[in-house]
Structures are given as C-alpha cells and as structure tokens.
C-alpha cells in the first residue's frame, strides 16, 4: 500500500491557561491519502481547528503546546518536530491553508496581486514577471476574469465571495499536495458557498490536491467529502466513508447530530435535541466524553476508557456499546 500523504499519530494539543490546562485535542490519529477529501466535522470546541492549526504549527505557543504526537508528511518529514526552517519550505508551498474569514486573513495594506504572488516569490525560483503571469492565470481559474486589473486592487474592494476566491488562488498557486480548509464557506451566503465549493472541487480535480475540510455543517460535508472524521471533545469518535457516516452511523453522537439538523426534506413537529452541553475540556475525562449526553449510555460508558476501533470494514467508532455489539444505530 502506498504511504499516505499525511499520517497523524497520537496528536495531543493543550492550552496552558491561568485556569488550568485545557486539553483541546486528545491523542488522535488519522491519515490523509493523496488526492482525497477528508472532512472533519464537530461542534465548536471539539478541537477540529486546533488539530489542523497544530499541524502547521500556527497555534500561539504559549499558551498552546503540542504534548505528543507525530505528523508524517509524505512519508519523510515530521511536521511537529521539524525545525521552523524546514517547516517553512513546506507550508505555503506543499501544504496551504484557507481560513474562515477572508477579510481578516488578507493583508488590507497590500494589493491583492502582490499577496497572490507572494508564495511563489518566497518559495520558487520564478522571476517577478513569471509570478505575475501565473497569478493572473490563477485568478482566471478561480473565476476572476479581469485579473489584470484586479491584481492592482486592495482586499476591501472585493466582496466576501471574491475574497475567498483570492484566498483560494493564493493557496493553490504553488500547486500544493495538501490544502487545509478551515470552514472556508461559513462566513458566506449559501449561493456563494455553492460557488466556492464547486470551485474548490474543480481546482482539486485539476491539481490532484488532497483537502482536509473542516466544517460544522453536515450538509456541506455530505456533498463534498470522500471520508469524514467526527470529532467530539477533542477526540475522533467516528471515522468512515461519507456515505457510511450518514447511512450507518456507528456512534450515538454522530446519529444525534444528524437528527438535530432541520432539514429541507421534512418538516417535523419538534426538532431532536441533544440535552446538556459538551464537557469542560480542562482536566481529565473518565470514560466516554459523550456519555453524560448519550441516550444509550450505561454504567461502564462513564467508567471504562474508550478507543477508536474498527467496528465494520473501514468504519471506526469510539462507542463501547457499538464495539461490544450491544446496540445498533441504523436509522
């Protein structure tokens, strides 16, 4: 079997705050294969963004600290222990990132063209003229046709959707192997969101880039991702192909999450809700983190340690009761 593009093992990230240690990501492992789209879904505070930020070491440290883990990129380089110099050769070139809010992630003082060319000029051996030509070409492929003039514009002269296009152009201009997209469409309207998702898909097809797609929106993930990791309280609680995640949920949290989405398909009397709140991540959690809110929880769920295990071929779940085949969650 070919080595995966990114192999993350036992990653743990915590924040050392005045009020104690918050363990945001709790020993998770996953992999990303070449060219695939991996979705990471979860509610706020589940650790999905922290996990990806730590891969590129973009977390403010301190208070953040990577406690353990490895992230082997392309079979050779450990992103978490590499020197900053080595890391800088990779990030922005072979791994790029798009953020949620395109206004705060573009520099308002610099012309858009300059910002798109920057990754090429920093990493590449291209001349400025070549970089410029490439940037205009890139703007065209993200749907900004008057690239020549738009290169000279400043970010505030663009709308939200256009800015996100600029971000995508900037991220993909170096033809990266991996694109990390952190809620890239959350700040956008649905009609623009549909455009941007279509665009990322198209670019992915052209460049063969693998994508880690972080989202809280199960609907977006359903249409966009090949595989999905569901995160809860800093842990991956379920992982499988997209279709299986939706059709054969193997973790009560995943099932409950799907049931609580108001859907266009049906108008129910009352929405299903998950009672209670996610656990406080300061300190240790005994047993399954979802147990206090789980309709299926029994005594040993609150006591015994849980691991992510394969419960069906290619389908991983961190539910003790599913693992012991005591419950089935088919809808």
């Amino acid at each position: 079997m070919a080595t995966p593009l990114l192999q993350v093992d036992d990653l743990a990230v915590s924040f050392h705050t005045r009020n104690g240690i918050v363990r945001a990501v709790r020993n998770i492992s996953f992999q990303v294969n070449r060219g695939e789209t991996l979705g990471i879904v979860g509610e706020s505070g589940s650790g999905k963004s922290v996990c990806c930020y730590s891969l590129l070491r973009l977390l403010p440290m301190p208070p953040g600290r990577i406690e353990s883990g490895k992230a082997i990129f392309d079979g050779s380089m450990d992103l978490l222990s590499a020197s900053i110099r080595d890391l800088n050769k990779v990030r922005g070139k072979r791994i790029s990132m798009i953020f949620q809010d395109p206004m705060t992630s573009l520099n308002p003082y610099l012309k858009v063209g300059q910002q798109i060319m920057e990754p090429l000029l920093i990493h590449g051996s291209t001349t400025k003229a070549a970089a410029r030509a490439q940037a205009i070409e890139m703007l065209k492929s993200v749907g900004i046709h008057d690239g020549e003039q738009r290169m000279e514009a400043y970010p505030h002269q663009f709308s939200g959707g256009m800015r996100q296009r600029v971000m995508i152009a900037m991220a993909l201009i170096t033809k990266p192997d991996l694109l990390i997209a952190d809620e890239p469409t959350t700040a956008l309207d649905v009609t623009v969101q549909a455009q941007i998702l279509e665009l990322i898909k198209k670019m992915q097809g052209e460049l063969g880039t693998a994508v880690i797609f972080i989202s809280h929106d199960m609907g977006v993930v359903a249409g966009f991702c090949d595989r999905v990791n569901v995160m809860y309280a800093g842990k991956i609680v379920e992982s499988a192909g997209t279709q299986k995640i939706f059709e054969e949920p193997q973790h009560p949290y995943n099932k409950a999450l799907q049931k609580s989405i108001p859907s266009l398909q049906q108008k129910g009397k009352e929405l299903f809700t998950i009672e209670g709140l996610p656990p406080d991540l300061a300190g240790d959690l005994r047993g399954c983190p979802f147990a206090p809110r789980c309709a299926y929880a029994v005594d040993y769920c609150r006591r015994d340690p849980v691991e992510l295990l394969e419960t069906r071929p290619g389908h991983y779940s961190a539910c003790l009761r599913v693992q012991r085949k005591e419950i089935t969650l088919q809808s």
């Binding site: 649905v190 969101q193 359903a222 249409g223 059709e247 108001p262 266009l264 398909q265 108008k267 809700t273």
Partner: protein
C-alpha cells in the same frame, strides 16, 4: 378582521454623504424598498435572503429601532410611524427583539437578575419581591434554573445566553417579537434546542414572531409563512413548505438549490442551479427586476418592468416570466422523462 401587523409600502433608505465640512448627499442605500406585509396574531413569518438584502433592516424598521424613511407600520391598529418618541417608548413593551449574538447583546457587568429586572422596571410599576418572583418564573419559561439569577453572562454557554436574551424579550409580555438570526451563532445541537424553545413559546403565549434567517431549512422548520427578500424587496411570499418545496421565483429556486442537504446520495445526485457573481449593490440597483443581473431566465423586458408581487394561488412571487418558465420546465422534464 384586521391583520395584527400591517406593513404598508415601508421604505428605509440610508443617505450616503461626502465631504468633511459641507456634507452633501451623494446617494442612497435602499436597504428596504417598498415592502408590504400582513401578519395574523400568533403567526410565525420567516424572512430569508442573502446578507445585504435588507432583512435585518426590515426587522428593525418594523420595530422602529431604525425610523423608516416612509411607509406605515400598524401594530394591533396603532400606527407606530406616527407615534411621538415618548409614546413609542411605552408602546415598545408590545414588541421586542432578539439579536444574533448573545455574547454582544447582554451586558457583561449585569447579572441575569439585573438584566431581566431592568425590563420589568422600565415598563411596569412593580417592586422588590414581586420582580424576583416574576424573574424566576421567566427563567423557568426559557428552561434555565433559578440558580442562574446571580450569575453573569460569561458564566453561560452560547445557547444559555440566547435563552437569557429570549427571557429578556419576554419580560415585558410582548405581542410581537422580531428575532434576527437568533440561532446563527449556535452549534447545530444547541440550535435545535433554541428553535424548539421559540416554537413552544409562540404556541403557548400566542406570540407573533418574525424570524429572520439566512438558513432556509431552519425557516422551513419553524415558520408558517416565508418571505424571500432580494435587494430590499420581497420577491416571494407564501406558506413555508410551498415556497421551499415548489419555489416559483428563479431567485428562490437558486437559494433552495444552494442549501446543502445532509445526505450524500441526494446531495450528489441533485442538480444545482448555480448563480454567478454576487448580489448587486443596493446603492445603484439594476433597473426593472433586481435579480435580472444574475438570473438565468432574464430577457430584455426584465430590465424595463419592475415585477409586482403577483398572486399565483399558492404563493406570491415577483417575476414576469414565471408562467413561461414553468411551461419550459414542464416541457423539459417531460422530455427528460
């Protein structure tokens, strides 16, 4: 019977001025541009549209948080537009607002008790213990324990804060509530709790609710009727299920088809109606139909006539080509079949 809330030709325009000393008006942002609406008592109306379409401004203009430029708002027979500031203030106990971000709209230095008691004190002549009893009862209504009384907003999660904001709006026993994206800042599982709560309260208290949202699936779930806005105008209006399942206006169609469905098989199989570009600026809206610049069905005539909101039996829609388009589509689908 007269409708409970009547909105007639409501317009809210914001002037754009230039110049430092001699300010002159160089244009207008037509945020709300001629809206007519009628609501029955106890009805839930969903107001949807993209950002910048004027849905929040409309909500605020109805409550006179922003004074509308022209037009009338009649609540239970009282013309709010004509009220003097003093009279308007005392009328405000009949209508309240819930905002999107419960982090920003609760005063961080006031306890829950202070926040809720302030509303009572402002409008009713009640004192001390009586207020406390009312506040505790109010907390119960929104599903918070009495122990929350002496806590500060930062001690609560987003969903709980939204419950406090709802309690504050309910404190003065309003008849009309405008909720401006009340669940957009919340996670899905918490969002469901708040939607259920709002629906329950409306049922129990007979509240009339205008629910502003950009999320069609949420609106379809909670609302009786839906109004779709585009560039300051209502372009489609009808029963929630009808509008979402069988939209007439091309814009609503595009909006519905852009909503992601949490089902990978359906999601991959369905045909999207992708719009190009962004909504045009409300400073200089296109002539004729505001949607024509992005509409795949637009013809020359669309630039000349401003389409009226026409009655199509099941719903109202503003498009001059609806009958033609429907004809085209039924031909298309019979061919495909």
């Amino acid at each position: 019977m007269n409708p409970f809330l009547q909105i007639r030709e409501l317009k809210t325009h914001f002037p754009i001025s230039k110049g430092i000393i001699f300010q002159r008006e160089v244009g207008k942002v037509k945020a709300v541009d001629g809206v007519n609406l009628e609501l029955q008592q106890g009805e839930i109306l969903g107001l949807v549209g993209e950002s910048g379409c004027g849905k929040s401004t409309l909500g605020r203009s109805i409550l006179h948080i922003i004074r509308p430029t022209s037009g009338q708002v009649l609540l239970d027979g009282v013309n709010l537009t004509l009220l003097e500031p003093e009279a308007l203030r005392s009328a405000r106990k009949d209508f309240q607002m819930i905002f999107q971000d419960p982090y920003a709209t609760l005063n961080p230095r006031m306890t829950v008790y202070d926040t809720l008691a302030e509303a009572f004190r402002a409008h009713f002549k009640v004192k001390g213990n009586a207020i406390k009893a009312e506040v505790v009862q109010l907390l119960g209504k929104v599903g918070l324990p009495a122990s929350a009384l002496n806590k500060y907003p930062h001690e609560f999660s987003g969903g709980q804060r939204q419950r406090i904001a709802i309690a504050r709006a309910l404190a003065v026993k309003p008849k009309l509530i405008v909720a401006d994206e009340p669940v957009s800042a919340l996670d899905v599982s918490v969002q469901a709790q708040i939607i259920n709560l709002l629906a329950k309260l409306c049922r129990e208290l007979g509240l009339t609710l205008i629910f502003i949202s950009h999320d069609l699936s949420v609106v379809k779930h909670i609302a009786d009727r839906v109004a779709v806005m585009y560039l300051g105008k209502i372009v489609e209006l009808g029963p929630a299920v009808t509008v979402v399942e069988r939209p007439l206006m091309p814009y609503t169609k595009a909006l519905v088809s852009a909503v992601p469905i949490p089902d990978p098989v359906l999601e991959k199989s369905r045909k999207r109606m992708l719009l190009t570009g962004d909504p045009p600026s409300p400073i200089n809206p296109p002539s004729g139909c505001p949607f024509r610049t992005r509409c795949p069905y637009a013809i020359e005539k669309c630039a000349q006539v401003v389409p009226p909101l026409e009655d199509f039996g099941t719903q109202f829609a503003a498009c001059i080509r609806i009958r033609e388009i429907q004809g085209l589509e039924s031909v298309g689908s019979s061919r495909a079949g």
